[in-house]
């Protein structure tokens, strides 16, 4: 079966979730395109979720995202509709495209709607028993040659395959959040993976104009394999600083600032953990520890945050929920103090004292955003990191430690066979985490 044929009937399970809804948008848009080229074919995209409330919101989310997608792809859409005399203006074409994309969707609670699908995307919660239950049911009702693409962040694909007897017809298709915007997809396979499933996954990724990076089937894969350990390093540094007499919120502020400003990253490590969700971050360790014999993959403070239920993540409108940090309009304005259960505002003497500890920024330190678009960023980064290493401020030392740990993690991912090459590790960090330099570097 060709990809075009398989795209005639597709299901997304967990479609109302953060990842599922994005995948739904991408596939619906593909179908709208195919429909124009094959007007006699019936296209069907089953959007399956157990949450009724989620499904109610899904329609309007998709409409909004499909409009944005169509606006951005206007040149391609004008080409698609070149022979449609009834569609002249951009407005008409975009409206039509969105309408056709929505038309193919079947929003339902009923998992059995996936019965006739030739491709199934699984994006339900990261919980092995639930994944096994849902995929198990799908195996019962779906055709034998259906292909499963699972969005799991940490569950080994081989485990799902083996337990359910899927004959290698399951591929890890790890989109990044949000899938409509993020270019990166990690494609996770092992030596049992079906060749057709692999090849079609690559073909689909190209069509979706994604950057595909192959990863091997070891829990956490490349992206979370790095992120989890990088975050853990941040947490351990907090612990170390509290040993030096800083309070936890003070240490969180210091490490967050150093990992953003001095490492020239888009966000500090604690802001990133909050963005992903403290609970999601925690769950990654839970799953990883089951599959990787590394007892250091855990952290006390993280567990405590889960206990008190401060979880980060996003509100339904996309704004940031408080976690390690407190946010106003998605900008950090405070730090959570676990001992009192309240937030300490990032301001005044409190902030000044900590900034003073971090010390003056080394010469050439430039905000991430301006460095990103700087045509000479290669040279500038090289110069900056040389200055950073020469500087003996407490902040610079923390930053250098961070840089080295990040490189170590990247190298370990290559050495243990998670990634095929240093370039693949760097590609994931560059495309999935918007770093402007890869962890495996000469800085």
């Amino acid at each position: 079966m060709t990809l075009d044929e398989r795209l005639q009937n597709v299901s997304v399970v967990g479609a109302a979730g953060k990842m599922g809804s994005g995948i739904a948008v991408l596939i619906a848009a593909q179908m709208a395109e195919l429909k124009e080229k094959n007007p006699d074919v019936l296209y069907r995209l089953n959007l399956i979720d157990i949450s009724k409330k989620g499904l109610i919101g899904l329609g309007s989310y998709m409409k909004k995202q499909l409009i944005k997608h169509a606006e951005k792809s206007i040149n391609a859409i004008r080409e698609l509709y070149a022979n449609r005399d009834d569609l002249v203006e951009n407005t008409e074409m975009i409206d039509n495209f969105v309408f056709e994309s929505m038309q193919v969707c079947n929003l339902t609670n009923n998992l059995d709607a996936a019965r006739d699908s030739d491709l199934v995307f699984e994006a339900i919660i990261e919980d092995i028993p639930t994944k096994l239950k849902v995929l198990g049911r799908l195996k019962e009702i779906c055709k034998d040659d259906v292909i499963y693409y699972t969005n799991t962040s940490s569950v080994p694909i081989g485990l799902l395959d083996e337990k359910l007897g899927l004959n290698g017809r399951i591929v890890g298709y790890h989109f990044y959040n949000p899938p409509v915007i993020q270019k990166l997809v990690e494609v996770i396979t092992n030596d049992k993976t079906d060749e057709e499933a692999k090849a079609l996954g690559m073909e689909l990724g190209k069509r979706l104009r994604k950057k595909l990076v192959p990863a091997n089937d070891i829990s956490g894969f490349i992206g979370n394999g790095h992120f989890a350990r990088d975050g853990l390093h941040g947490l351990n540094e907090v612990e170390r600083l509290t040993g030096e007499g800083f309070s936890i919120p003070e240490a969180v502020y210091i490490v967050n600032k150093v990992s953003q400003t001095l490492l020239i990253r888009p966000m500090g490590i604690f802001q990133l953990i909050d963005y992903v969700g403290v609970d999601v971050f925690w769950a990654i360790f839970e799953v990883m520890r089951e599959h990787i014999p590394d007892p250091t993959l855990k952290n006390d403070l993280l567990n405590k945050m889960m206990e008190v239920g401060v979880k980060g993540g996003q509100n339904p409108d996309g704004t940031q929920v408080d976690g390690f940090l407190q946010y106003k309009k998605s900008r950090p304005v405070g730090v959570y103090d676990i001992s009192s259960g309240s937030n300490i505002p990032i301001e005044g003497e409190w902030k000044e004292k900590l900034d003073k500890y971090i010390g003056p920024l080394p010469e050439g330190c430039q905000p991430w955003r301006s460095m990103l678009v700087d045509p000479n960023k290669g040279q500038k980064l090289e110069r900056y990191f040389a200055n950073l290493r020469r500087s003996d401020t407490a902040g610079a030392k923390l930053a250098v430690g961070y840089l080295e740990r990040s490189r170590e993690i990247g190298q370990m991912l290559v050495d243990t066979g998670v990634a095929d090459s240093p370039q693949d590790v760097n590609d994931v960090l560059l495309n999935g985490f918007f770093h402007i330099y890869g962890p495996i570097n000469n800085y």
Binding site: E71, I74, N75, I77, R78, V88, E89, N90, I94
Partner: protein, 417 residues
Amino acid sequence: MAKFRKPVYVTAGYNTIALGPGRKEWRPKDTRPGIEHYVKEAGMGALNQVNDPANIDEGVLGNFMMSRYCRQGNRPGFIPMIHPALEKKPATGTEGACGSGGLALTVAIKSILADVAETVLCVGVEVQNSVKSVYGADILAGAGHYAGQRKTGHAHFFPGKFSDRAGFYFKKYNKPEATREAMALWYANAIENARLNPKAQEYYNDLEDPFAVGMTPPNPKAFCENINYYDCSKVTDAGTALIFASEEGLARLGVDKKDAAEVISYGQAESDITRTPDDLSVLWTTKAAVERALKDANLTINDIGVFEFHDCFSIGGIIALESVGLAEPGRGPDFVKAGRIKRSGDHPINTTGGLIGYGHPVGASGVRQAVDILHQLTGKAGDCQIQIDPNRPYGLSISMGGDDITVICTIYKKTGI
């Protein structure tokens, strides 16, 4: 038509800021001022420079597409909104796409020459940011022929048209690299001048090397084949106004002649909107309008001391240099590369930023050009002021609607010479 039967003057010019991406005040998510705000600010900005608004005889408003951008028709009704003294006086609206502002100037001039008014308040306005640019492209495409061109046109209709012109030009003269460099220099000139103009959309532009950025290779997939974003004027909200007056009108308004410039001729030319010329390397309508204006003023293009070109696209500016006779055919890029259009050059063009630097509030641009020439000829151009050569005390502006369809060229003279 030859010399005007009586002198006509312009005075009391005022431009609002050009609001849009690039301005500090630009906050895409907030609600923004509408046409009312810009018409009022600009109109009052002009009226505040004369003794009494009651001395204005009539008004004219140039605007292209408020009907679609703001779902608003009946343009003339905004003139009395500016000041109660204008209530129940005659008012007219003009529409000729991006040449709407130029048309507004001609209406004012004609009223004065016809002796039906001694003073005319001339306003231009466009509010475009009410609509995302991908839909704005549909609206602006109305400046071309809808039935004949929209369906086959580029998503961003006019950038596509001028990309075609650039492609044609590259091929005809076989110098794509030199032309691209000249386009980037055109952009750099616009930015350098706009940085001196606090009202300009690019006033805060702090690019280290605008020329280098202007050299960005075009991306046909995301945009156009032969031009990049920097070759284009941006989407702008702005208003602009000035007052036209006869000799008697100036006296009535209490305006000293040194605060006015004389309008000595205008050339207006129109082309069939349903047709596209075979040779895209010349702006034929622009050529006709400029030749007419020069002939009526009994001047040559080399007598002009300061220019306002309609550079909605940098390539349009370069082709215009040749069409109006400043450069030989095929030598426009050399003219730019020699620095002759710069404020320090012998033919300073768009000294306040032009459409790329100040911004392009489409139907208002023709009026904005008149204001800026007035300011140059009366020494009121602030940091943008250039030295006007006493042997060439003339300013010339070109207002062009659509792809060289509706064109108005106006020539002004410094007073007291």
